[in-house]
């Protein structure tokens, strides 16, 4: 599927040009802080320095939030997502009818006061089904991204932190997974596991793991050699502590951006898989599924296909816009690449 692949595309697009720039760009930005920190640290007590780092860290998050609130696009997309989450959680209460409630004799009714989005071929209320479909989309998207986040970040941390053969082995494995077109790979995984919602989450989770591994690894490489990491090691901290207390928090910004954008593409993937009949199964109200049902009635009942698709579009757009806004704030390297100021060749 095109859009779903597009995120991999954008990542791929960035890779060859930005890999070097990424490493250089960092010290100019947030890295500057760290260097000044480093000079304090050589003179003083290491443990204190680490504590100061922690505080700096929190203030950076507050700063991030302030910058986000000032960005109208970020605020707007967050509001849309908030509404979606509310609909997802309270859909049962908000929907005027049940998702499987059939109005016999009211099949394929066009939108009206009693059925805002019309009814489908079984006489079910499309508006209610779209509302209740939010829960399915958000849940599948969140679980799938959760899987790739945990797996990908772990792999990326190990590869980036330990380097050498561990890096080679893990990243070549990720390259292998990355070589399969996203949707085709999800289809192949579902061919093995069998169709259904749970398996779709697993399939999408596997598909997006390599991206998280790459982003995490690249980010870890930029912080791995920082003075405070070396200081922490010199003070006797174990690898586990260093990785999760120092490396991960400092490598987090690009991962957060990736998570937001991946949610957009995971939701798109779920819809695509349900559209081709491999994801969420009937009678559950999945937007992708509704679209494929609506496609059969496109001549008689355009509303059956229009509204579920619009719901997917709005949701994905909101995640993408929020992801972009987050990137502007958290990951200035990318911003410069996009606005062309920093020239990330």
């Amino acid at each position: 599927m095109t859009s779903e692949g597009s995120e991999r595309r954008s990542e791929e697009r960035v890779e060859p040009f930005a890999e070097g720039a990424r490493r250089q760009a960092r010290p100019g930005g947030e890295g500057g802080e760290v260097t000044s920190e480093g000079s304090i640290q050589t003179a003083g007590d290491t443990a204190d320095t680490v504590a100061i780092m922690g505080e700096k860290h929190r203030s950076r998050w507050v700063e991030t939030l302030v910058l986000l609130v000032r960005n109208p696009m970020a605020v707007a997309s967050s509001l849309v997502l908030l509404v979606l989450v509310i609909v997802g959680v309270f859909g049962d209460v908000l929907a005027p009818y049940g998702y499987n409630e059939q109005f016999v004799g009211d099949q394929l009714e066009s939108p009206s006061g009693s059925h805002w989005f019309g009814t489908d071929d079984f006489g079910r209320d499309v508006f209610s089904r779209v509302l209740l479909g939010a829960e399915v989309s958000l849940r599948v998207g969140a679980v799938a991204v959760g899987i790739s986040l945990v797996a990908g970040v772990l792999i990326g941390l190990l590869a980036g932190y330990y380097g050498r053969w561990i890096d080679d082995a893990l990243m070549r494995f990720m390259d292998m997974l990355f070589a399969f077109p996203a949707l085709l790979m999800a289809i192949a995984v579902l061919a093995i596991l069998g169709r259904g919602e749970t398996n779709a989450m697993v399939a999408i989770g596997i598909v997006y793991t390599p991206i998280f591994a790459r982003v995490t690894r690249a980010s870890v490489l930029t912080v791995r050699e920082e003075v405070f990491i070396r200081a922490s090691r010199a003070s006797g901290a174990g690898d586990f502590r260093i990785i999760f207390r120092h490396v991960l928090p400092n490598a987090a910004p690009p991962i957060i951006v990736q998570t937001t954008i991946s949610l957009a593409f995971a939701i798109l993937s779920e819809a695509a898989l349900s559209f081709i009949g491999l994801g969420t199964q009937p009678p559950d109200p999945s937007w992708g599924r509704m679209l494929s049902e609506g496609r059969g009635f496109i001549e008689q009942a355009w509303w059956m296909a229009l509204f579920p698709g619009l719901a997917i579009f709005v949701t994905v757009l909101a995640f993408n816009v929020l992801g972009d806004a987050l990137r502007d704030v958290l990951d200035p390297r990318q911003r410069s690449a996009l606005s062309g100021k920093g020239a990330a060749r």
């Binding site: 599927m1 070589a179 957009a264 819809a271």
Partner: protein
């Protein structure tokens, strides 16, 4: 450069071997007997035994892998568990449809990206720039299968300008071939076009800020010539590599577009293979896609190493 090429080649071969093992595993990870699943209730015991024999499923796994990969290298991808036809033939029948769709989609993407990206870079923060930003964000987020259905509703249904789906070979009827191609190509090309718009914009912006552009202007070169010879030439060279990567991804993007428009290509066949539990056919298709992807990526990486923008600038300036 040579060192880089060798390293990159070795890397690709390693990944390719890994990919082949993963693809090989598809048939063996399926719970149950893949041939029984594919035949369902239709096959007799003899057909079953013959198929099993032909697929070599009774050999040890390692032997099977080497047999499979050995024949794959000679272009033999085994036979379909469902129909008994050679998989390679089934695939090659579908290649023209998928290739024409992917190529047309990349043309659509370029037609969107180059003008829109250039215009928005020339006038940053203007309405054009704003439009480019918004539309590329929307183009990335729109579900292509939904866009396809809405196109069908509008252009095939309401307006009746274009056929709602299907494929006509170019050699049969070029006009019909084009008419059938338009909607799927636009649907498949929009997402790539959106990504490339951003890329062209930043690339042109960067070129505009270069010293040689200032120099060209200072020496009194006409704005149009500065744009053609200095800005665009340099900004669009990296686009070759981005376009290559996009082409690889488009091949995957066409999977769902093919399904929406009943386009008889490889993507549609992959889904049919899953539905028919024809795992050998799925295996062959997935392998082909992965190999294409790896090869295109390798070529693009090598091209990028070769197409250093500064070198192309010297050529451009020599004119």
């Amino acid at each position: 450069m040579t060192g880089y090429v060798i390293r990159r080649l070795v890397q690709s071969v390693i990944v390719l071997i890994g990919v082949s093992i993963l693809v090989f595993a598809i048939v063996h990870l399926v719970p149950g007997d893949p041939i029984r699943l594919a035949l369902g209730t239709r096959g007799t015991e003899e057909t079953y035994q013959a198929m099993r024999e032909r697929a070599g499923l009774d050999e040890p796994l390692v032997v099977q892998y080497f047999q499979w990969i050995g024949s794959a290298l000679t272009g033999d991808l085994g036979v379909s568990f469902r129909t008994g036809q050679p998989v390679a033939n089934m695939i090659s029948e579908r290649v023209p449809a998928t290739l024409s769709l992917a190529a047309a989609a990349i043309v659509v993407a370029l037609l969107i990206a180059v003008p829109l990206g250039t215009l928005s870079a020339l006038k940053p923060r203007s309405p054009v720039d704003w439009f480019a930003t918004v539309s590329s964000q929307a183009g990335l987020s729109i579900p292509d299968f939904w866009m396809g259905i809405m196109f069908i509703l509008l252009f095939a249904g309401t307006l009746g300008w274009l056929p709602s789906g299907g494929y006509v070979g170019f050699t049969e009827d070029p006009v019909q071939w084009a008419r059938h191609l338009i909607m799927p190509a636009v649907t498949a090309g929009v997402a790539s076009g959106s990504i490339m718009t951003r890329f062209v914009r930043s690339s042109v912006l960067e070129a505009l800020g270069q010293d040689y552009v200032r120099t060209a202007r200072a020496k009194g070169m006409r704005a149009r010539d500065v744009m053609t010879w200095h800005v665009l030439r340099n900004a669009l060279v990296p686009l070759v590599t981005v376009g290559g990567v996009q082409l690889a991804y488009l091949l995957s993007g066409v999977v769902i577009v093919e399904i929406v428009f009943a386009w008889p290509g490889l993507g549609q066949m992959a889904l049919q293979a899953v539905e028919a539990r024809d795992y050998s056919l799925l295996q062959g298709t997935v392998l082909l896609f992965a190999v294409i992807f790896l090869v295109v990526n390798l070529v693009v990486d090598l091209l990028y190493a070769k197409l250093d923008p500064r070198i192309s600038y010297e050529q451009g300036a020599a004119r």
